[in-house]
Symmetry: C2
Subunit: 149 residues, 2 copies
DNA sequence: TAAGATTCAGATAGAAATGTCTGATATATG
DNA sequence: CATATATCAGACATTTCTATCTGAATCTTA
């Protein structure tokens, strides 16, 4: 199966989007997130721990504890989350899998793929949690998709 | 780890490219391909069998046997190979992993991602084995990358 | 027609990703 | 301070992907 992001990365993106729609001060616990987004709870826990270590989220134990964004939503791009979970290997690796592929020794689709990959990177780097959060707030459909409403 | 194609799909693409650089009538055996491209031989065998079932390659057993393209190289797009191995799930699935994502109920990056994904599809559908094969013939670097020379 | 070379089919093994479990640690609240 | 609730850490289990093994079927050639 071909894909872009690992399942764990998808979970991370969904969860941060969910949290971004919450009030800023509140901690959201993984039980709530996993129920709303249908993500296995312990695995989600592991996943969000990675985001805490990457300083994207902060956490608190105990009652009223949970996770929340560790910085201003406008400072968190989708790319930061992808990087924290999947890394940036896809930005440099050859799409055909040739181990030694570079601009000096390109594969047959090197330059074309480079353009497309850069566009993907731009999209991920440009779109921040802040602007997506605004979209979610403004759209009933999106709130439904995130298990809100 | 994020990626685009499965490893098996990368192997398939590399192997077909390798064969395309051979004379059309000749059968190329998996031993030769696996050595030149550093692909595990039995796994490559399984992989090429999938391409035979998809009518992209034909095969012959016995001495002088092996695999060769089953049709005109200009009729084989990269996309056909990807489709035969990995399928086209990546063309329709949500990049954020939301199970129900469509134009009627889009995720926050649905339309942007749609544009990028379509460009990837166009590239894979437009580039055929014929034109890549010509590039390989014309480029010493590419021949080296494919273990030729 | 016999021998060797090769793909083919199915079972097995190993590795990586995903998912689960248990107990430890920290925190809010009564 | 005790209790309940939550994250955290590490081990374990399951699933999927990748890789290997064995023998059967088929073809070429001497």
């Amino acid at each position: 199966m071909s894909l872009i992001f690992s399942r764990q990365c998808e979970y991370a993106l969904q969860a941060v989007l969910y949290m971004s729609a919450q009030s800023e001060k509140r901690f959201t616990n993984i039980n709530e997130i996993s129920e709303r987004l249908d993500i296995p709870m312990p695995f989600l826990g592991k996943t969000l721990q990675l985001l805490v270590r990457s300083k994207i989220l902060s956490s608190q134990k105990g009652p009223k504890g949970g996770f929340k964004l560790a910085k201003n939503p406008s400072e968190i791009a989708l790319f930061h989350i992808v990087d924290a979970i999947d890394g940036t290997y896809f930005m440099t690796s050859c799409v055909l899998g040739f181990p030694e592929c570079s601009s000096k020794s390109p594969c047959p689709v090197h330059s074309e793929w480079g353009v497309l990959r850069d566009r993907v990177h731009q999209m991920l780097a440009n779109r921040t949690i802040a602007d997506i959060s605004k979209e979610i707030t403004d759209s009933k459909q999106l709130r439904a998709k995130l298990g809100l409403l």
